[in-house]
Assembly symmetry: C2
Homo-oligomer: 223 residues x 2
DNA sequence: GGCAAAAACATTGTATCCAAAAATATTATA
DNA sequence: TATAATATTTTTGGATACAATGTTTTTGCC
């Protein structure tokens, strides 16, 4: 017998969702000069949609801190601020420290192996001078790591994702500096070690430290 | 000479903001049965506004986890789930632990004194059997504590606020049980002690523990 | 009566409209 | 010319209209 159909999962994104992710991407890749006012009308024209989905997107992005209200009216991309970035990294350190402690309780040997391979690939890319690949390996390392949390701790996962996304644009600078790369790779090795020991407290400490290092480097190299 | 005017700060809330907080309040006080579909139209009629601000409010509340998409269409208040609540408390433990460590670096003796008075008031209310006041003292204790963070760590503050708000409805039960109250008050005393010592790491440990206790009690007494 | 197709209905998504508010330009006056 | 009052334009907030898409009910067939 044929089953009663998988309930037609909607595969086409709504205009709102498309507008939202497009706008977000453009903001994260620095397409809008900070402080410049974003008007609904012009964005709507740019994306070929009406003001409604643009408004929705702007409001959602405001909650994420990617745009903020400009004076009494309208939105703009906020200026980069060290304090702001610092705070985000601090929150990340605390949350991801906890997340790694959770992960170490459920991770399999196989997953650890995959992570190891990613670190090795990053290291090889570094030695071969392929600095532009390192950012990707880095991202995949973290994605694989936290992907294990999605089902058990969906909220923790999504807050972490938001925060990482937010600082992504700054990180791109850091991870082209040899010193930043070396620190990052050695940090990942320590993480692997802590995971292999399945020691939650150690995991937490190591991850916190890893992110504090990332914070330092990001502040250093974004100037 | 008269100054060029303080730029007329808007004091009247927009319809959207009013709708949002009204709906939120009603959800948090359990006015909508879980799983029942919330339709924009009916809410709009109920609040005497159009669908637009209701839609905005629903989308915002979705991000906070106070409503979730129901099937392919519309929203509903999610059912209480122990896993969900547990996760929130865990995140709170981690974030508020960090927050207290931050607070202990900037808190004044005067603020510590105010906190002490709040704890004493709560204790007296407990001895006098005024259980219904304890919840308020509790809230004021936390408000005063984290209020010190607003300017320096606005994001940390607002995440913590969201999480606390989210579990508020469950806490109300807990804090009418004598055992829960006793644990809560003794937790606050420990927090004060750690603050007086200005020991960040101790602060973090104590606060984490305090919130884990709250989690246990909440799960226990909400059944 | 039970099931499937289709029609009717309900509800959301998107666009547009209008009014209120703010920013900007213009004019009058000193 | 500088400033203040006022008119004009821009832009947003909120309501409404309409289209698209689910959902439910009805109807016809076996």
């Amino acid at each position: 017998m044929i089953k009663p159909l998988p309930k037609s999962s909607k595969n086409s994104l709504s205009v709102r969702e498309k507008t939202y992710s497009l706008l977000k991407k453009q903001i994260l890749t620095g397409q809008f000069p900070p402080k410049k006012k974003l008007t609904e009308e012009s964005l709507a024209k740019k994306f070929g949609v009406s003001r409604t989905p643009v408004r929705d997107a702007l409001h959602k992005l405001e909650l994420e801190g990617l745009v903020k209200v400009a004076g009494a009216r309208g939105f703009c991309v906020p200026e980069d601020s060290v304090e702001d970035m610092s705070e985000i990294f601090e929150i990340r350190a605390v949350l991801e420290g906890h997340a790694l402690a959770c992960v170490c309780k459920i991770i399999t040997d196989k997953d650890i192996q995959s992570l190891k391979e990613l670190v090795q690939s990053a290291e090889q890319a570094f030695f071969r001078g392929k600095l532009e690949h390192i950012f990707d390996y880095n991202t995949r390392f973290h994605d694989l790591l936290y992907g294990m949390l999605v089902s058990q701790k969906p909220r923790l996962f999504s807050i972490i994702e938001d925060m990482r996304e937010y600082v992504l644009r700054y990180r791109k600078n850091t991870l082209t500096h040899p010193k930043g790369i070396r620190r990052s790779i050695s940090g990942h090795k320590k993480i692997l070690m802590a995971l292999e020991l399945r020691d939650p407290q150690l995991c937490e400490r190591i991850m916190r430290n890893h992110i504090y290092e990332a914070k330092e480097d990001t502040i250093l190299y974004s100037k």
